[in-house]
């Protein structure tokens, strides 16, 4: 029945959207708040997927637990990448052209490195819930979608709380608005940016685990997410976490409906179309002023 199809497409879209929110959270922080165009972000997400895959394959630990254990590693990686970025580009005032090329190089090296290490085959994880699902009347919730969606929303809520309630979180929000005000508060903007960027990188561990629970992963899978994450980030109004969540859910639903009714091969074009439309019509995003 057409109606059931639509309902399930919307439900699948909402779960997909919650996952997209986790994928975009890091971009929302690094690009939206810090103005660092980290296009390597999806590459690090795939790195997260492969780490979840290795540990899961070796020790049978749940990929999401692996991701939580890997958070400090990704946080440290973020601090390292930001350190190089700051020393080489931001401080010299050359952050636009060469900074972009730097992150592009990182994206590429991550992908090729994974290809060299694991080859170009699909990799997936085994968990108890991957095959299961919950059925409510006509509605179906596959667990491989539902579990990542719920954890993703929890992570998103934690991030939002951190940003709005803690001193460092508020300082991160202020960094994008007025770096001078921070200096008056005797806060070092570079330190704040390093913390925020590392945090953004840490979300890659989680998003990567979600991704490999939802679907098998290739070294090149990250590319599909580049257009999507920036579409969501811009649509959500740069640097607004609630806006990002709304935009992520919206794009998830639209893609899911497009997939259900027109076939999966068209889904990548949806987010790009929305991105171009947003840039052309409303570059300040849905919730922008």
């Amino acid at each position: 029945m057409q109606f059931d199809l639509l309902i399930n497409a919307i439900i699948a879209g909402l779960m997909l959207g919650a996952f997209y929110a986790a994928v975009t959270a890091g971009i929302s922080i690094s690009f939206g708040m810090l103005d660092i165009v980290n296009i390597a972000h999806p590459g690090f997400i795939i790195l997260g997927s492969y780490i979840a895959y290795i540990v899961n394959a070796q020790f049978g630990i749940d990929p999401i637990i692996v991701a939580i254990l890997a958070l400090p590693v990704f946080y440290a990686l973020g601090a390292l990448v930001y350190g190089i970025y700051f020393q080489s580009f931001e401080r010299r005032g050359q952050d636009s052209l060469r900074g972009l090329a730097f992150f592009f190089g990182l994206l590429f090296v991550t992908e090729v490195g994974l290809i060299l290490a694991f080859g170009v085959d699909y990799r997936s994880v085994g968990t108890s819930y991957v095959g299961g699902s919950i059925t409510l009347g006509p509605m179906e919730f596959p667990l491989r979608m539902l579990v990542p969606a719920i954890v993703s929303l929890a992570m998103f809520a934690a991030l939002q709380l951190f940003m709005s309630r803690t001193f460092i979180g508020r300082a991160v929000m202020a960094v994008s608005q007025d770096p001078q005000a921070l200096e008056l508060m005797a806060v070092d903007p570079t330190r704040i940016k390093r913390i925020a960027f590392s945090l953004a990188m840490a979300t890659c561990a989680m998003a990567g685990a979600f991704l490999i629970v939802i679907q098998p992963v290739l070294p090149s899978s990250g590319r599909e997410y580049i257009g999507r994450v920036f579409a969501i980030c811009v649509l959500g109004g740069l640097g607004s976490l609630p806006g990002t969540l709304i935009a992520a859910l919206l794009i998830g639903v639209i893609e899911s409906i497009a997939t259900t009714f027109y076939g999966p091969s068209w889904a990548p074009a949806v987010s790009f179309g929305l991105l171009l439309l947003t840039l052309a019509v409303r570059p300040s995003g849905l919730l922008g002023r």
Binding site: R98, L100, F104, V109, F230, A269, L279
Partner: protein, 334 residues
Amino acid sequence: MRTPLFTLILLAIAAALYLAFRVIGNDYLFFLGYVVLQYVVIATAWNILGGYCGYVNFGSAGFFAIGVYSTIFFYNIGQSPEDVFPEFMLAPMAWIFPLPLPVLIVLGGVFAGLIGLGMGYLTLRLRGVFFAIATLALAVVLETFIVNWSFVGGSRGAYVIPPESVPVFGTFIQYLFVLMLLLAVASLAAARLIERSRLGIGFATIRDDELAAEASGVPTLKLKLIATVLSGALFGMAGAPFPFYIGYVEPNSAFNLSYAVNAIAMPMIGGTTSWIGPMVGALILSTLQQIVTVTISSAVNLLITGLLLIGFVILAPNGLVGLWHHWTARRSNS
């Protein structure tokens, strides 16, 4: 040096190169040379927008593929015109098709230039980074369209059968090589001409400071659109002969990420402020890649390219040309 003289010298070098290759008489050289020259065109194309104006294009693979698929589109029409045209048009169409390769190259350039214009018009009024992001997504979406478009082969791919031999040039690869050689000469001459013209000064003001450029009377949006169209058209022209070179094209090979990476890495490694940089970067890097691909593996070769790109943007922001200037300045001082 005046542009006509410069172009003549380039043509003379090109002719000498071709003759030398003919004397050696190994078709393998032409195969290798074609790839190197193709990258000279691609690196120069990227640099017109990236190096001169400071606008980063990550979608080089997409623009290249537009040229590739424009050729496949017209080739397929030529293969089976009865599927495309009504009865009464078949006779005149048989006169037009199959289109000669130089015409296909121009068509590839026109389509890629038009796509560049459309995308630039939508995103170039915003901060440069939005343009970069849009180009990132462009390749993915164009690939989606091609995969879903069965006339040009869809995900299965398409075959293009080159003629066995061509008058004057002998083997077809020699003909392709000469076309690419001319294209490389044309793009280098164009890049150098732009650099020294009023247009090039305008481009440089955009790279340095767009607000100050506008205040000095530079129509920045118009200039950026010109650069996007020129750059896109050169990418398309570089891609148009590719199906004849490779024989079988599938979306994965036409949209290969290595085009996007090389398009950025070559100018960045060579140096972005003049026409010499992209050429030097393309010659060195693509020769190196050919060697590594043959001796080790193509994945390692891509890894090296990526690491070189990162290393150069961090350590030598002005590329090899910058290092050379630095070195000669030091020597003349001491």
